[in-house]
Symmetry: C2
Subunit: 296 residues, 2 copies
């Protein structure tokens, strides 16, 4: 299909962002990203980049894709539109550090357009820490606030609340982490939303590198690691039971390995687990719910 | 609600079966089952029995439950019936052995009735091995054939095909194991289906104990264990994305820990994994698809 100018601009942006983020993460670790270029029969493809068993990153994926094709009937119905060609491009990042002192992070930025019809932006960043370093959570949220509000004043609150709703493991009535921001269906013809996407994307390294630097050398106990493995199990529960992107991908025949690169490398599922009272893990479990992390 | 005779008979059967199976598994291991009795506000409850970190069994759950309440609207619609009270009882077993030489097994037997309306039986057994001991698979399937066909001649084939269909990880186009039997919606007023349930239930120890005895003392390599952890990841993918019982339970507010006791204790998710050609694991992956395991 003939893509819009906006589509091509977004493609360029995510490609540069992938490059920048990968170079920077490689500097932090001692391994190189493994690259997988893939193509889709129906149109388009992607560039998957993965680290496994790095020194800092036990598993990290920084993927871009840009695909086009006919809108599946089911989705056309959902969007109340006729069947038409569509294009979608985006970047998707999930990083599972080895140390339980360094949080897991996820970012996704995407653009979608239909040949006859609307176009929109969506995206978000959320953090899944395993240790109650509440100053880090405040740092994370205040940078997110700045990167949203400088483009669209007041937007952080809306996106923060969306994120709290979205990343909830409903059957456990708890969040998978401490949230972040999430937005969707933002008018693709309104330039301010592209600026928002760029602002969020550009904030990724500013948010995450300091958390890595601050915590990577800290020692941790077996009990810390155990807690991380249990919480990674909750991450799996969320991604496989609720995450719309994952389920959409699995059920429409996306590239399985790229979709499931979000799953943590090693996980435990323990019957009736609860952390010992008085431990940092016990404290941490109190924070997996909607909270105001801003400090002023 | 006032339960039928059949309901009470089924309740008694699953309670005795739980007792028998737990005693027998405890004999094989050096730990005792931990017991959790639970009650449901709306009516009924269950008895969950769990082993964790046993010598043979890394995680094993043998659960019974018997509940009653008002049929949720959504399910009444699905069954094309008015909203009425219902009762459901069943036994659910999942055993994850520590050794990759001993297969994971799952059994479920259940009975469902509505105050105004139909009643039915459902159930099944399936095996998830991690090592290509094809003689064991034939032994397993031929005992299942006998236990089905002696009650309902020719039924094994039907139930075996159901099982191959049901326990498929659709997004990977592979089965989670080597199948077994699966049946559902079998007339609750027809005594032969209760006999079928009893015959399958009674076959559990006859099927599984020999597989434990034969393989428990065998040595295994790190690579064998690694393969098991990867395949357990596929088990998680199946249970959280496709298993109707799991999703029904999670989405209708069942007892979360009892539902998720089916998840393996420790799991790996590795990007782009494939077993080395020439290894037993490479051979094993050829068997995760519908095959005829009968030998005559």
């Amino acid at each position: 299909m003939k893509f819009s100018e906006q589509f091509l601009e977004m493609e360029k942006y995510i490609s540069r962002l992938q490059e920048k983020i990968c170079l920077s993460l490689e500097e932090k670790d001692e391994v190189k990203f493994y690259e997988d270029n893939w193509f889709r029969d129906e149109g388009g493809g992607g560039r998957t980049r993965v680290i496994q068993n790095g020194k800092v990153f036990e598993k990290a994926g920084v993927n871009i894709s840009s695909i086009d094709g006919m809108l599946p009937e089911e989705i056309a119905l959902k969007f109340r539109t006729e069947r038409t060609r569509f294009g979608a491009c985006g970047i998707s990042i999930v990083i599972h550090p080895s140390s339980p002192k360094v949080p897991t992070i996820h970012m996704n930025l995407r653009y979608f357009e239909m040949e006859k019809g609307k176009s929109w932006f969506g995206g978000g960043i959320d953090l899944t820490p395993y240790f109650p370093y509440t100053d880090d959570f405040s740092f994370f949220h205040s940078l997110l606030r700045d990167s949203c509000n400088k483009v669209i004043p007041g937007s952080y609150n809306e996106f923060k609340n969306n994120c709290d709703d979205y990343f909830t493991i409903i059957h456990r009535n708890e969040m998978r982490g401490i949230g972040g921001i999430f937005f969707d269906y933002k008018d693709g013809k309104d330039k301010k939303y592209f600026s928002l996407v760029e602002s969020v994307g550009d904030s990724f390294l500013k948010l995450y590198l300091p958390l890595i630097e601050k915590r990577r050398a800290e020692q941790y106990s077996q009990e810390d690691k155990y807690f991380q493995l249990i919480r990674r199990g909750r991450y799996v529960e969320f991604n496989l039971v609720y995450d719309r992107g994952t389920l959409f991908g699995l059920k429409t025949g996306g590239k399985i390995e790229s979709i499931l690169m979000s799953l943590p490398p090693e996980v435990k599922f323990v019957y009736n687990y609860s952390p010992r009272p008085g431990t940092p893990h016990f404290e941490m479990t109190k924070y997996y719910k909607p909270m105001n992390w801003l400090r002023e």
